[in-house]
């Protein structure tokens, strides 16, 4: 029998991170995380194993995040870190990461969620396809397109960051 508290402890980071990267808002991420786990609580009897529960959580979190993005029309606005790193090297990394998150946040809802699942959870196209209930080929092509887009934006953005630092 699956224990809700155990599942919550184990997977809250996954769900919260997904929501946070997708929505770029801590409070909204907390709300979505709570919603997802309360849904898990209601469906606990239907889940057969810990793996099943994890896959279920990922699917529900991803889809709810997509819904929430569409509802809120989150297209921009970078997620903010709690505090800026003090050292120069760390500062650069932090700026870079923030840039990347801003760019990811600029992607359409489904593409954004695919990228998050790909890089946050290290999922392959097939797993992402299962989580979002999409054909694998669709996921592959969307990922490919999104990554190209990000790469292009990043090249322009990084140049801006470096130029800013030199100045």
């Amino acid at each position: 029998m699956l224990q809700f508290a155990d599942l919550l402890r184990e997977h809250q980071s996954m769900v919260y991170s997904l929501a946070y990267h997708a929505l770029g808002d801590r409070a909204a991420a907390e709300d979505l995380t709570q919603e997802v786990f309360l849904a898990l609580f209601e469906h606990l009897d239907m889940l057969e194993s810990a793996e099943h529960a994890k896959a279920w959580l990922m699917r529900v979190a991803a889809n709810r995040a997509i819904d929430e993005i569409r509802k809120r029309r989150y297209r921009s606005g970078p997620p903010l870190e709690a505090a800026e790193p003090a050292e120069a090297g760390a500062q650069e990394d932090w700026v870079l990461r923030a840039q990347v998150r801003r760019m990811v946040a600029g992607l359409p809802a489904r593409a954004r969620t695919m990228i998050i699942l790909r890089y946050q959870e290290d999922l392959g196209p097939a797993e992402i396809a299962r989580a979002l209930d999409l054909p694998v080929q669709t996921v592959k092509s969307r990922l490919h397109r999104s990554l190209n887009l990000l790469r292009g934006r990043m090249a322009r953005g990084l140049a801006g960051v470096r130029a800013g630092r030199r100045a």
Partner: protein, 113 residues
């Protein structure tokens, strides 16, 4: 390290897991507990209330029935006593009357018709 690898690493680093706030787990557990308790608790409370009301009504009904029965029994007792007393009065009177005319004892036997 290729450009692609660096790009992937940057994405992994930027989109890595972040720790949820400390209070989130407790908040979710409380909400789940509340959700768990509220419908069932409310349902149980409602059932308990109905049972209490039914039990009280049944007890009240039994008590009223018992009281009514006791009242009827008391009425019947008084009436039977009255009937016995009246019978006794008449017997004594008849005996007294018989004594007054010289009959010393009344034998309660059949009187030939």
């Amino acid at each position: 390290m290729s450009e692609q690898d660096r790009f992937d690493d940057l994405l992994r680093s930027a989109l890595g897991r972040v720790e949820p706030p400390a209070g989130l787990e407790g908040r979710i557990l409380r909400a789940a507990g509340l959700r768990h308790r509220t419908p069932r608790g409310a349902w149980l409370r409602a059932v308990a209330m109905v049972l209490i009301v039914l039990a009280a009504a049944a007890l009240g009904l039994l008590w009223r029935q018992e009281r009514a029965r006791a009242e009827r029994a008391e009425q019947a007792r008084r009436q039977l006593e009255f009937a016995l007393q009246l019978t006794y009065d008449r017997l004594v009177k008849a005996e007294r009357q018989a004594n007054s005319i010289g009959v010393r004892k009344i034998r309660f036997e059949e009187v030939p018709q």
